[in-house]
Each structure stands twice: as C-alpha cells, then as structure tokens.
Amino acid sequence: MEKKEQKRHQHKHSGPKAQKKNRKKEQGTEQEQDERKRNPRAFSVQSAVRMAKTFHRAQDIKTKKHHIPLVDRTPLEPPPVVVVVMGPPKVGKSTLIRCLIKNYTRQKLSDICGPVTIVSGKKRRLTLIECNNDINSMIDLAKVADLVLMLIDASFGFEMETFEFLNICQVHGFPRVMGVLTHLDTFKNNKTLSKTKKRLKHRFWTEVYQGAKLFYLSGMVYGEYQTQEVKNLGRFISVMKFRPLVWRTSHPYVVADRMQDLTDPEAIRLNPKCDRTVSLYGYLRGTFLKNKCQVHIPGVGDFSVSDVSFLPDPCPLPEVIKKRALNVKERLLYAPLAGVGGLVYDKDAVYIDMPSGHASRQQEEVRPTTELVQSLIGTQATLDAKMAASKVSLFTGTAALTPEEVQENEKQNPMESREWDENAQRERRRAVFADEDEKDDDEEEESDEAEEEEEEEEDEDEEGLTTLKKVDEKADETAAPPVKKQKIKEPMEMPAFADSDDELEKSEGEESEEEEEGSALIYIKQINLWAIMNLLYVCLSVAEEEEEDSNDEEELGGLFKVSRPERSKKVRADAMDCSRFQPDSSHDWDQEEVRCTSIRDCFVTGKWEEDKDAATLLKENDELYGDFEDLQTGEVHKGDGGDDDDEEEEAPQVKLDDDEVQKNKRLEKKRRLKERFDAQYDDGDATYFDDLKEEMQKQAELNRQEFEDVDDEVRVQYEGFRPGMYVRVEIPALPCEFVTNFDPHYPIVLGGLGPSEGNVGYLQMRLKKHRWHSRILKTRDPLILSLGWRRFQTIPLYYIEDHNGRHRLLKYTPEHMHCGATIWGPITPQGTGFLAVQTVGGIKANFRIAATGVVLDLDKSVTIVKKLKLIGYPYKIFKNTCFIQGMFNTVLEVAKFEGASIRTVSGIKGQIKKALRTPLGAFRATFEDRLLMSDIVFLRSWYPVLVPQLYNPVTSLLMPVGQKDTWAGMRTLGHLKHDLGIRNKPNQDSLYKPVVRQVRHFNTLHIPKELQKALPFKNKPKQMQAKGKTPRDLQRPAVVREPHEKKVAALLDALSSVYAYKNKKAKAEQHAKHKEFLKQKEKQDAERQKRLKEERKKTYRAMGQKEKKKLKSSLKGASKDN
C-alpha cells in the first residue's frame, strides 16, 4: 500500500510567528526546565481521590513485581544454556539449528542428532537440542530447557503440539520461551501476511505473556534462513537472562551428550541381554551432585550412580576475557552424538578432533559404534598394565585409590589440553599422551616426593603423630597389593584424596609446627588436620576391614579420641550409646596456674581481641565523633581526638610506619563513617523483603567463598560436583535395551534425586482437568503423570474435601473445578507441579494433556472414604422402638455400630440401641416417631478406599528405534472393553419400555349423615336414584290418533296459536299505552313540583321577614328597656 506523497509543512522564516518562535527558542531551555514553576496549575492537586487512586495503583504495581527472593546459586562458570528448538514436524527446526550453529561457529553441521554445545560468546555457551514430535521428549526437554525456541508454521497457524508444549512448560516451571514464525514466504499478499502475523502474535502473547518476543524468519535463501535474521535471533539468545526455577536449583541434572557402554564384551558375548554398565557424559546443571547418589533417567528408570568424575571441559569458554569478539579457535563446537567435537575422553585416552574441516567427511568416519569398540579394546589392555604399575600409592591415606581413579587423575593433567591447541590437524586421531613407561616414571617420582614429605613430617612432629603414622603406614601396606580385591570388597570407600593434596598436607604440617612453638599449652599436641580428615573418613574404614587389632591408641589434639579398644572390633560395635562425653580430667582445675594459662580469655573478664576490645572501640568512637556540641545545653564536648592532634603536633618526628598506620586509620575511619551513613540513609525504606534479600545474598557469597581456594579434587568431596563441570557418570545395571535401542535423537536426562525421593508412597495432589481436554477423567483409570523428573503410569483416585475435612471419593473429576487426587507414586517434595496424559503412544487429534496440578502432601496411608449405606427392615414395631433385621450379619457387627444414628427413607431419625440374640444381626433401635412395616431403615457410613499401588515408570527410551513413541502401559477400562469388544449388559430397569397407564379409579365421596342434615339443600347430595325399569303394568301404551281426532287436534292447535298471537298483540299495545301514560304523568309531576317550590319559596321568604321584624323589634324593645 503506497501512500501518496503529501506536501510537507514549511516552516516560516519571517513574520510575527517566526519571531515569536525565535524568542521562545532563545529562552526555551530555561522554561522547559521549570515547567512546574511556569505552569503550576497543571501540576496542582486536582482531586484528592484521583491522587489516592494513582498512588494505590503505583503501589500495587510495585508490590506485584515482588517475588520470593531466590538464592543466586549460579556458579562462576555456568554450564551451557540449554536451548530447545521445538515445533511440529516440517517447520524448520533442523534448519534453524544449522543456521544458528553456522552463525556462531562458522561451521556447517549437516546431521543434527543429540545436543550440540557451542561457544556463543565470551561468557556464554549454548547447548542446542532439537525436540522431536514425541510427547515423551517434549516432557523431558521442557524440564531441562532454559530457553525454548518455539517454531510456528505461519502458513498453517498454531498446532496442538505448540500448545501442549507450552502447557508442559508451565507445569514444570516456565523457562524462557521465544516464538519463531517460519514459512512466511508462502504469503503472496502483504496484507494477509501482516494480519496473520498480528493474529499469531496476539495468540502467542495470551499464552506466554504480553509482549513475549516473537521472531519472524521471512524467507529462505539456498535452503537457509536469512543471515541477518538469524544473527538478530542469535543476539537475542546471547543476551537473554534467566530466572532460576525452584525444581532445577534444588536438583542436579545432566543432559547427556555422550554415551559409552563399558560392559565387559565377554559378558555381552555370553549373554547379549545382560545388564549394561554405561557411562554418560554431560555438563552438570542445577545444583551440586554428590557421588553415589540416585538418579532418574526419564524413560528408563531409577539408578544409583556408581561413580562420578569430572573431566576437563571439552568446550571451554575463552580463558582471557578480551574486549574484541571471539576468534575462530575459540568458537568451539561439541556434539559427540553427532560425531563432532573437540576432545573426547575415554578411560585412558583422549581423542582429539579438529573441527575446522568439512563436517561431512568427519561424520562418515566418526561413528560412535566404532569408537566404542576401539575404546573398549584399548581399555582392557591398559588396565592390566596399570594394575601392575599401581603398587605405588601416591599419598599416605590413599589406600582407597582404585586404578580407575589413578587413570583419571592422569588424564586431568593440563598438559594434554595444551597439546591439543598445537596439533592443528584436521582428521581426528588418537592421541596417547604418554607411554606406559613414562607414566610409571611419573608416578614413581610423585610417590617418591610423597614419601619424602612423609619423612619430613615425621621428623617434624614425631611425638604428636607417631601413632597416626602407624595407621597410615598400615593402610598403605594393605592398600598396595590387592587393589582389585579391595575395590570389590569395599564399595563405600571414598574416592581418594588427590595427589595434589600432598602439598596441602605438607604446608599445613609446617604451619602447625610453627604454632606449636608459640602455644604453651600443656597437653595439646599438634593436630594435623589432614590426618584428622584421613582418620575420619578414610583410614578407619580401611582399618575396619582388617581383622588385625591395633593396640595403639590415638588421641588427636584432645579433640577426637579414637575409641579403639584393645580386645576386638566386636566390643566396640556394641559400645554404649551415650552422647555424654566423659572427659578424662587431665586438668587439675584447682591449680591456679592451670586456670590462668588455659581458659582465662574465654570469659568476658579475660582479654579481648584487638578489634573487639572495649577500650579500642571507645577510642575509635571518640575519633569518629571527636568533638561535638550539645545544642540544647550549649556545652562543648572535646574528644580525645583533638588531643591526638595536639600530640601529633608536639611530636612531629613520626616514623614512616606510623604514617602508614595513620593513613590506614583514616581510611578505616572513613569507611566506618560511610557505613554508618549508609545504614542510616537506607534504613528509611528498608523492608522485610530487602532484609531477606540481603541475608540471602550474604549466605550465597559465603557459600561461594568457603571452598573457593580448595583444589577441585578435594572440593568435589566436600560439596559434590558443582554445576558447570563436565562430568562422567557411571551407571551400572542399565537394561540392555538402553544400549541396543539407543537413538541419539531422543534426549537422555540424568535427573538427580534428593534424599528420600527414590522412595514410593502415597501422594495427595490438587488436580484439575485441563479445560481443553475433551472428557472428564474417571477414578481408577490409569493415567500417565509427569512429576519431578519422572514419567510414570499410576492409578489415581479422585476425591473432594467436604466441609468437615472428610475426603470423599469422586467417581469422575469435576468438569471445571479442582479436586483432590491420591496416587501411589514416587515421593516428591510438596509444591511440585505435575501434568497428566492418558497415553504417550501415537498422535491424536485431541489435546493430549488431561490434567494439571500440584503435590500437596505425602503420606504412608490414605484418607479417602466413600459412602456406604447399610439397609435394614423393621420386623417388629412397638411405639417408638423397632426391631430391625437385615442390616448386619452378626452380633459383633452390631456391637461395633451401637449408638450409630440411622434414618428411614421417610425421614424419621433414630439410633441403634442393642443387638438382639435372634435372628443374627438384628437389633433394637429407637426412633423419634412410630415406624411402619413398609419403612426402609438405612445407616449411612464411610468406608475407607484403598489406592491401588501401581507405579509403572514409562520406559519409552527402551523401545526399539523408530517405535519409541509407541509405549503403551496399562489400558483404561474403557479402552480394554473397546479393544476386546465387551459391552456392559444394561440394567433391565434402565431400559425404555412402552408406557402403560392405568385408568384412575375414584371412590365416591361419602358424607356423614349428620353433616348431610346440616348442609343447605343446594349442597346436599341428591338422592336421585336412577330410574328403574317401570313394571309392565305401569307402562302406558302409545296413543295412536284417529284421523278425526287428528283433525280436531290440528284445529285446536291452530286456534290456540291464534289466541296466543292475539294476546301477544294486545299486550304490546297495552305496554305502549302505559308508557305514554307514564310519560305524561312525569310531566305533570314536574309541573307540580315546580309550583310547589314557588309556593314554598314565598312562604319561607315571608317567614324570614317576619323573623327579622321580630328580632328587630326585640332589639328595639331591649334598648328601650335600657
């Protein structure tokens, strides 16, 4: 739509208007600043109500913005952001991923399977995952996605999958969602295009939030989206901010980007269906992952991790943050499932891959299967060699060191990663970092060092640690030769402390030695903390394994006393369980010396630290508020600070050190002042919310700092593997289908489970049928739930809470209302959202999400009841008492219900009194009124319902490739009946039959005789008996006239009619005459009346005059008298 070019406005350059404008321009700036002053009326309060309203509104908006503050647990080096590209098939997902990869890394990836990790910026990495059109993957990916790119085919409009996915996202905490419209080039008409865009945008907004970002990818160029548009999209992705989601910040999870089967090939050969040991690799996300924890793999099941180790990052962020953009070397791409990636680590080797070449050629070469086999072969060979070499232990306490761990430690040498930079070769090749001999040499060297250190230490603090050393040495001895055996024997042992800790130990030992000199304590010996740790967590567990007794008794710094009795281990195992610590009174507190030297300063009366001493504090305060004047009294207080100045003047020869001290003091003072000011200034509007936030911030800071300086190997043991690390998780006993039916297009998520989340129990949840799901849900129909990490099938029972708190069973979910549901399922923390689908197999036209809800309560018992009416019949009725039978079968049953209230159908209430001897189960009951024999008595009771204990994890990942979306669990009753062709026999009573209506018969009304007598005749029942048959003799014969008689009769008839006519005529005449007469009479009367009136008038007048005269005369007479 081209608009007509309109003539533009021309500014005046001369004339009064232009002058005025010029004048304004000159003063303009000033005036604009002072709008309020210039035009105060415009800013004055017009209406107090309006003002209050605006204020309220502003406050409302402000408070609405508040969320419960979440602790910021993002690690310093965050894991890659998970970007899920989602959309119905043929919408352009793979194309978009390819374009994004090309945009970020300048590489082409033709086949996208599995997650692709790329470095997108100086501080951000992305993991791109494509979501296929299977509801299982949709659910799994919605749980791990940080950002969802929702592709929408604009030429078609929204599809059900889009809405389903949005609903899934909503339930599992809403990740960021960005819509992308594709296929916009199919619109030929511009108007329809813009209209469609607008329509889709608004629909998208209602679903996500108002103003959600929707991208338009307008067209394709050579099978790719336009570069500029992809670039813009990429920019949006790289600046996106994410809000932490509760479930994810409290659970560790790994989106596996590599899978490796570690099972012994021999075992597989013997039994191809044997359980597999698999190691999965990926970035750890969420929170800290503890070793040996339980994980859930959605689509497979629950497993306990046998081993976790962290590997060097295969796709690291650039080390030095420069101002310029990333160079080509730093734009890394890692997608081992697609066969592309930088470094691929095996147990004993690193594969280096240079991605700068053509991707297509590589892919042919790099098939995971071949690599897998190769690595397996390699592993075995080197393992044997290692076993031979593993005599030397690296460190005193590392009896637990297994050969695997040794190998891993080797791998994490930074040497290798550097090597990788140098080898800029295209084809992927295997890089063995060191020959076996070299490795051995290294190890020996290290061990030599360790031994030396040990010796040193021993020299240093012999008295304190001799005993401990013995233990350590013993541990060494036992640990060295039968390494493999020990591994089997002791599955719980700690992953040993790394070799790098030797230094740590050493340094600490030295430190402690120095302290020893200083402290004049009597019986405290040196604590080598490292030794304590060893003793605590490692050595003793080893020592326990040994059967030989140790006669030496350790006492470490008087703090921990290893109670290892002389006799045998058994005795200790049965030791007295008492928490009271019985100190061996080695102190004689009666001695004054002991008292003074040891604990004097633990009391407030003792000496304080420098920074807390009251005197120092007072002095500082004085410096702060040196002089002040009491304004009320006008008194001037002079502080000590002033004196200090004088002193300084007096003694100008201060040393340089003193200057430094002074400067520091001043800085300190300044800082304090600032703090105080800040505190006062901010105090005004500091709310509870702010305080809470600050507290959380502090805690987060502390958590971060606590282990910052510790070496990674050790740190991992304290706090677990921290998010952002690239970890290798080894899982034993996975079903073989997981490996044989492995499909990289399906995401593998390792969701860590919290303590006790691996258990199963009853869950009470609040549930609502989804308003788009077409049917209501039936109690006891199996339902597939997605809760926490899991997808599982279970049998819910629906209930509603009555006013008295009773949970009453419902047969169906309400149509538009929440109801309760109880299931038997995995224990999941309260407040976790869930969604339910009826089937995960196949694609259906309808909206698949059946219900959504939230977990309310966990329990080991169920409280749902259903109504049960027991029915009985009276068999003997006294006045208000009845004997009722048929309700119970035994006396005992009745006894249980004594005192229960019962009711008849007609509404008469009663109570069960006591059981009768015969018939069995009969009882006596009393009612508020007399019963009839036809009454039915019922007892309303509540019967607890059992929840079926079905918990069936959806094992969709174990299905054969290509059939993964066909998982079908337990069928619903309806499905089953439909499939088997079973139809219910209808209840005969509810069938339709022809209506047969009986004729109603009314009895005659009977009125008592007395009443009849009293009634008026009109209402009296008439005793009209029906005429009976007249007897023969009374019956009269019919008269047949003679012709003559006929004639006579006719004549008489005629005469009578003539007579009647005559009479009638005469009567009419008479009537008319009389009328005339009446008229005349009326006239005469009127005249007469008139006349009479005249006469009366005359007389009255005369009478009146007479009266007047009389009155006058009387008045006259009276005056005369007077």
Partner: protein, 345 residues
C-alpha cells in the same frame, strides 16, 4: 545400609529416618551373655514407631538383628513410657533431631527417669539444645521442654513435656566465633543440700566470672518422683548466644561411694571448665545438632547417609591468648534437606 553392633544405635535410626534409607543392624550383642536389644533400645524403637507413620520394623527372635524401614515422620500427640534403664534425655536427644521435620506439631509426653548419671539430663538439654535449635530457625511459641515431674534413677516416675513446631527447611548457621562467656547459670536439684552444692560450685567459678546464678529446683510430693537423688546442671552463655553445659548427677542410693555435696558442686564446676576448655566450634551449614553427639562416629554416619563431608580447618589461636584447647572449624554444604512431611494447603 548395613551396620554391625548396637553402638550409635540412636544415630543410625535417626539418620535413617531423616534420610528415608532403610537399614539393617546385625550382630547386636551377639557375643554377649545377654544377646539382643535391651529394653531401653526396644523402647526407643517403639517411640520412633509412635512418631512416624508407615515404619516397618523387624527384629529377629533373639533380638540380634534389626531391620528398620523408616516411614514418614508424623509428630502429633505422643505419650511414651520410657524405660528406666536410661533417662529421658536418651530419648529426647533423638526427638530433638526428628521433631522439626514432622507433619504436625509434636507434643510428646515422656515418662521415666529425668536425671541419671549416664545420659545428659533433661535440664541440660533444655538449656543447651533449645537455644541451638532456635539458631537453626526452629523457633516460635511451640518449642519447649518442660519438666512436669522429676524422677531419679532407679524408680523413675518423672514426666517431661516436649513440644516442637514443624519447619519446612532450616536456616544455615555460622557458629564460627564462640564468643566470650558472659554468664553462668545453673540448676541444683536437691531438697536439702542445694545450698551446699551451689556454694561449692560458685567457689570455683567465681574466680572466672562474677555473674553466676544457680537456681534450686525442688519439687515436692508426687512431682518429685519415686526415688531420691540430687544433681547440678551448669550452663555458660557466651556473648554470641552459644551455650556450653555440664552436669553431675548423684548415683542411685546404695551404689557407688557417697559424695559430699561440696565435692559434688566442685566436680560440676570443673566439668564446666573442661567443657569451656574444649568448646568445640561448630560451623555447620545445615541442621546437625552436633552439640548432642560429639563423636567421630556421627560424622561418619552423616557421610554414609547424606554424603556430606565436613571440611575441617584449624583455627589459629592468637599470640598470647589463653582460650583453652586447640579448636577446629568444620564446614560443610547442606544436603538441601527439606521437610517433606509437612502439608501445604
């Protein structure tokens, strides 16, 4: 999980209940003349059964093997007849750890021996454990330990009311600085000799700090329990609000040597000093009330149940400060434990 022997019996059961991991304890006094669980242990297991829902406990015929599958912590009103072999403190220590994670407010009435020489008495727990729990964020009106009746060792007859509110999660705490002791309080339990005990204890402690006050607690009639005895509990409060306690109880009549009340008081005061000397520093970013259990074994159990390891650092004492024994700073990252029994509405 499998354990051997009955040492740390309570710890194992409590941690198993909290972590919901089933466990099996083998060889309980299997070599003993009197094998199997003792009465007080059985009583403890019964108490656990009362405060939980759905717990499965299997004990073999001789009582040497115990299988324990924990249920959900429930709380509620509980009345328990504690065995007189151990004092109520034995049971209360475990309840203190469990109670905040129940479904409903716990209101436990424990009957039995309130004070005995082996276990920490109810008074000691009252003055030390309750403030510590408050630091972990379990506060409010509901939290209290109340001695309704006192009962001494052989016969018992005491009664203690313990109520504790439930919490969703704990606050992280840092107890890195013990602080200086600002006052000493105490309770002397005796009818006649209270003053003598108090005086002797004061005579020692007065040299350190003048702010000492020792209450005398005498209950009469039915509330004084079935057997006689006396004891002293002392607690030192620091400026940072940490509490260090010590106590001494008389042995039951007819056992052990008779002790003079003066010696008795002195002993208790010395114990307190010893405690001050050791005063373990605790920095725990989680819930463990290590004040109750200061044993290495406990740390190892925590490792087994929750995979939590403590980082132990040495605290360097100042140049010429006299602050008692060498201390360590222990740090750990919490298990992210939250109360999954509590209902949300």
């Amino acid at each position: 999980m499998e354990f051997e022997g009955c040492s740390c019996f309570r710890q194992r059961l409590v941690l198993s209940t909290l972590s919901r991991k089933r466990e099996k304890i083998l060889n309980i006094r299997s070599k003993d003349d009197n094998p199997g669980l003792r009465d007080f242990e059985a009583s403890f297991v019964r108490l656990l059964d009362k405060v939980t829902n759905g717990t499965r406990i299997e004990i073999n015929q001789t009582g040497t093997v115990l299988f324990y599958q924990p249920g959900l912590l429930y709380g509620g009103s509980v009345e328990h007849e504690c065995n007189v072999q151990r004092s109520i403190g034995y049971y209360l220590e475990a309840l203190l750890m469990l109670a905040p994670f129940g479904k409903t407010l716990l209101r436990a009435v424990l009957k039995g021996v309130t004070n005995d020489p082996t276990d920490p008495s109810v008074d000691l727990l009252k003055v030390t454990a309750i403030p510590l729990m408050k630091k972990f964020g379990i506060d409010g009106a509901g939290l209290e330990i109340k001695v309704l009746k006192r009962g001494m060792t052989p016969a018992g007859g005491g009664e203690v009311l313990f109520t504790c509110p439930v919490r969703r999660s704990m606050k992280p705490v840092q107890l890195t600085e013990p602080g200086k002791i600002k006052r000493i309080r105490g309770t002397a339990i005796s009818l006649q000799m209270a003053n003598r005990i108090v005086d002797s204890a004061r005579s020692i402690l007065n040299k350190f700090i003048p702010d000492i006050y020792i209450y005398t607690d005498h209950m009469k009639g039915a509330s004084s329990g079935k057997s006689a005895g006396f004891g002293l509990t002392l607690v030192a409060e620091t400026v940072n609000g940490t509490f260090l306690g010590a106590e001494v109880m008389s042995t039951p009549q007819g056992q052990g040597d008779p002790v003079l009340p003066e010696d008795f008081g002195r002993n208790c005061a010395k114990l307190l000093l010893e405690e001050v000397y050791r005063s373990l520093n605790r920095s725990i970013i989680w819930l463990v009330y290590t004040i109750l259990v200061q044993r290495i074994e406990f740390l190892r159990h925590i490792r087994d149940f929750f995979q939590i390891m403590f980082k132990i650092e040495q605290q360097k004492p100042g140049e010429d400060e006299q602050k008692g024994g060498e201390k360590v700073l222990m740090t750990c990252v919490g298990a992210g434990y939250s109360n999954i029994s509590k209902t949300i509405k």
